[in-house]
């Protein structure tokens, strides 16, 4: 009997040591790609190709953004990862594990925050985490500590024993993320994490996402159609449109793709500029009193442009800068079903310009 007890404790000790090592090595398992999709396809009934042969890979430790308009197939892609919907064809591997073959093993490595609120509002925050920790088989000894630290991390400790139905939307969102953190996921899947949040709650959610990535090396896949969110958070971005990946790259690369920053100079009196230094930028629009110049880096170009006009003794009334942002990239690659012509502004001028100049 005593032998058995000893054996039990030894086993427990060994598993806890292993778990500790696992936690420390949480950030990186060398060589394995975090998420690997190869020709991934999902066809729903009625022959709707929600995801149409996409291939991409997410490195460990990366924050990867899946962008696209509503109905582009982002959520379906995430649902295939968390094994809530079956892969029709193609391959999908999470840390080297095929989702079709070992769904349970895959779910053990993932944390998932769905698009709509999915915490149980009839339970307290603590209970939500407790139930989830139990269903994720978090070691009993670690359970309370993990729940406590997850609540603290998401700044919910003070109201842990309140029913969730008394929470605000932002708090529910944070609770949702806390819930996903309880099983210490290697990869966190966030489906539109800041939808319906006010700016300050959104900032708070962003901060914790970044912190998670930096402190624990958690790989994060995030879907959004908010370009500022993607620009703020993501290391790399894939823009999806009608089930396909339209373009993939870092935010900087993508912004370069649609051209650089546009500087508008308003002149005191009409004048005709014959030559403009190429190293500063290119004039893309000149209607005598207002000149638009395309530059690669707007901030650096402004003093040079000011100097240029001063040296030519042309009076400048104002200079404004219009920085390239991901909205332009989004509009270029995400096909829209409605209102294709809505977007008419200086940006489209710039896009046309860069397209023609190639």
């Amino acid at each position: 009997m005593q032998g058995l007890i000893l054996l039990y404790y030894t086993c427990n000790y060994i598993t806890s040591v292993c778990l500790m090592n696992f936690d420390l090595g949480n950030s990186k398992v060398s060589g394995v790609t975090a998420i690997e999709a190869d020709n991934l396809t999902k066809i729903y009934r009625d022959n709707i190709r929600a995801v149409d042969g996409i291939s991409f890979s997410v490195k460990q430790g990366e924050i990867f953004g899946l962008l696209g308009p509503n109905g582009a197939g982002k959520t379906t892609t995430i649902k295939m990862m968390i094994t809530l919907t079956r892969v029709t064809s193609g391959q999908l591997r999470i840390l080297g594990v095929d989702v079709a073959k070992s769904p349970q093993e895959v779910r053990e490595m993932l944390g998932y925050v769905p698009q709509s609120i999915s915490v149980d509002v009839d339970l307290t925050a603590y209970e939500n985490l407790l139930i989830f920790a139990k269903l994720s088989y978090v070691n009993k000894k670690e359970r309370n500590e993990r729940i406590r630290s997850a609540l603290e991390y998401m700044d919910l400790s003070g109201r842990a024993n309140d029913l969730v139905k008394r929470y605000s939307g932002g708090m529910m969102r944070r609770l949702e993320i806390a819930q996903a953190l309880v099983n210490r996921p290697r990869i966190l899947l966030l489906d539109e994490p800041s939808i319906g949040l006010d700016p300050s709650s959104r900032k708070q959610v962003w901060k914790s996402i970044k912190q998670l990535n930096q402190e624990f090396g958690t790989t994060i896949l995030i879907t959004t159609h908010d370009m500022s969110e993607a620009d703020e958070l993501c290391d790399r971005i894939a823009i999806m449109s009608e089930g396909k990946i339209a373009i993939l790259g870092t935010p900087t690369e993508l912004k370069k793709d649609v051209g650089g920053d546009v500087i508008t100079v308003n002149l005191g009196s009409p004048c005709n500029i014959v030559s403009f230094p190429k190293e500063v930028g290119r004039i893309i629009n000149n209607n005598e009193k207002s000149i638009q110049i395309l530059t690669t880096n707007g901030e650096e170009a402004i003093p040079l442009i000011a100097d240029f006009f001063r040296s030519h003794e042309i009076k400048v009334e104002s200079i404004s800068i219009n920085k390239a942002n991901l909205d332009d990239v989004f509009m270029k690659y995400a096909k829209r079903r409605l209102g294709d012509t809505v977007y008419k502004s200086i940006r489209s001028t710039r896009r046309d310009f860069t397209r023609h100049s190639r």
Partner: protein
């Protein structure tokens, strides 16, 4: 290892329900109203006019096990609506995204339904005491009734979840629940003996699972006989296993 994990997950899902009931138990009390009315109005009336051939027992004694079975049937056959509602608020998505096996989630949900069934049984026992209905309050009998109630609720709630994964909406589940409960209830021995039915209906009631449940509960609470009990329990176990297996395969459809 995986068996312990399976059981742990099922119990956890039931625990979730228990915690919800602890926070708000209004539903338990309102659920007790309907069987109370059956006993008070229907039961007392027929008891007074003594038209039912209920043998050595009074009509109140006869109908109490029937009403117990009926109210558990109602809870479990409409349990799919709860699950559809939980799908709508994202709870099912959350449960299915955990590493727990899906069959353990379904089994846990059916355990949750049986938890409500047990509360219902307690209410009806209390009511019977209050109305002075003579039933056997021996410990083995009471425990036996609870066992049957638990299995019965698990069986029909898993059937309800199986149906819910195809029906997908609360309205349709409401309709299908009504369509199932009425024939199950009236073509059984819950409120009158099978012997007074027309012959064709007697055949229907033989195929009716509710008749066996009522029979099992009645034999324990009134006669104190147990010879049919093994068969009843075995039948319930077999059907529960079948329904839980099928429902755990289909429950994912709810999300599509």
């Amino acid at each position: 290892m995986s068996v312990t994990r399976f059981i742990k997950s099922s119990v956890t899902v039931a625990e979730m329900e228990a915690r919800k009931i602890r926070h708000d138990s209004t539903e338990l009390w309102t659920r007790a109203i309907q069987p109370a009315l059956w006993l008070l109005i229907f039961g007392e009336t027929f008891n007074a006019i003594r038209t039912m051939p209920t043998g050595n027992f009074s009509y109140m004694q006869f109908i109490t096990p029937g009403i117990l079975a009926q109210s558990v049937l109602f809870i479990s056959i409409f349990y799919g609506i709860t699950v559809v509602w939980e799908r709508d608020v994202g709870i099912i998505t959350k449960l299915l995204s955990t590493p727990s096996p899906r069959s353990s989630i379904v089994l846990g949900k059916s355990l949750a339904a049986s938890l409500r069934g047990v509360f219902q049984a307690i209410m009806i026992f209390a009511l019977a005491l209050l109305l002075g209905v003579k039933i056997r309050f021996d410990l083995p009998d009471i425990l036996g009734v609870f066992a049957v109630v638990v299995l019965f609720a698990m069986c029909f709630s898993s059937l309800s979840m199986l149906l819910a994964s195809y029906m997908k909406t609360r309205d349709r589940m409401m309709g299908i629940g009504q369509a199932l409960t009425m024939p199950l209830f009236f073509a059984s021995n819950a409120i009158y003996p099978i012997s007074i039915m027309p012959t064709w209906l007697q055949y229907v009631s033989i195929a009716n699972p509710l008749s066996y449940v009522v029979d099992a509960i009645r034999s324990m609470l009134l006669e104190g006989t147990y010879q049919n009990l093994p068969v009843d329990i075995l039948a319930l176990l077999v059907f529960t296993t079948i329904f839980v297996t099928l429902a755990s395969r289909t429950i994912k459809k709810l999300l599509e």
